[in-house]
């Protein structure tokens, strides 16, 4: 069973704000958020692969 720590939303979307600077900061945070989700998915895949390998001989 996938651990809870790998089932939590890592971040949320940031609003653009009303200046170029806030828009830029929102862009950086949102881009980082996408990376966080990709990272989370990558770790979930890794966890699943290792568990399948561990229990491959169990009926």
């Amino acid at each position: 069973m996938l651990p809870d720590s790998l089932l939590q939303d890592p971040c949320g979307a940031i609003k653009a704000g009303d200046t170029v600077r806030s828009l830029a900061k929102g862009y950086v945070k949102n881009t980082g958020c996408v990376f966080d989700y990709k990272l989370l998915l990558e770790k979930q895949r890794k966890w699943k692969a290792e568990q399948q390998e561990l229990f491959k001989d169990v009926k």
């Binding site: 651990p3 790998l6 862009y27 950086v28 881009t31 980082g32 990709k38 770790k43 890794k46 290792e50």
Partner: protein, 132 residues
């Protein structure tokens, strides 16, 4: 004298029969006990094997979770660094800027801002940064 010998012989035969029956019965019980013990040992071995697998599974979960937290922290540090760079970009001082003025939607981003923003895409290879 003969009666005594016959009586002793009958007693011997009867007692031998009784002991034989008891011995057979105990032997059967022993067989069942040995079989039950063997089954219990088999179940114990299976339980041990299952426990080891579960422990190994927990170790994998801990390892992957720890790795994820570490990588996530590293990513957040990069985001914080990039945001600090955005914050430190200088305001326009060569000319008076009207705070209420709106910029044209198609106007180009300042070169230094564009450079800093491109840094946030460096660790994030993939769909998010493929758009023009």
């Amino acid at each position: 004298m003969n009666n005594i010998l016959i009586g002793a012989l009958l007693f011997f035969i009867c007692s031998t029969g009784i002991f034989g029956y008891v011995s057979y019965d105990l032997s059967e019980q022993k067989g069942m006990a040995v079989q039950a013990l063997q089954e219990a040992q088999d179940r114990l071995l299976e339980s041990e094997k299952s426990l080891k697998l579960q422990l190994k599974s927990c170790e994998i979960s801990d390892s992957v979770t720890s790795e994820y937290q570490s990588d996530k922290q590293a990513q957040q540090d990069k985001v914080t660094t990039t945001i600090s760079k955005v914050d430190s970009l200088p305001k326009k001082t060569t000319q008076q800027v009207n705070q209420d003025a709106e910029i044209d939607i198609d106007s180009k981003l300042p070169a230094d801002l564009k450079r800093v923003l491109s840094e946030s895409c460096l660790p994030n290879e993939g769909d998010a940064c493929d758009a023009p």
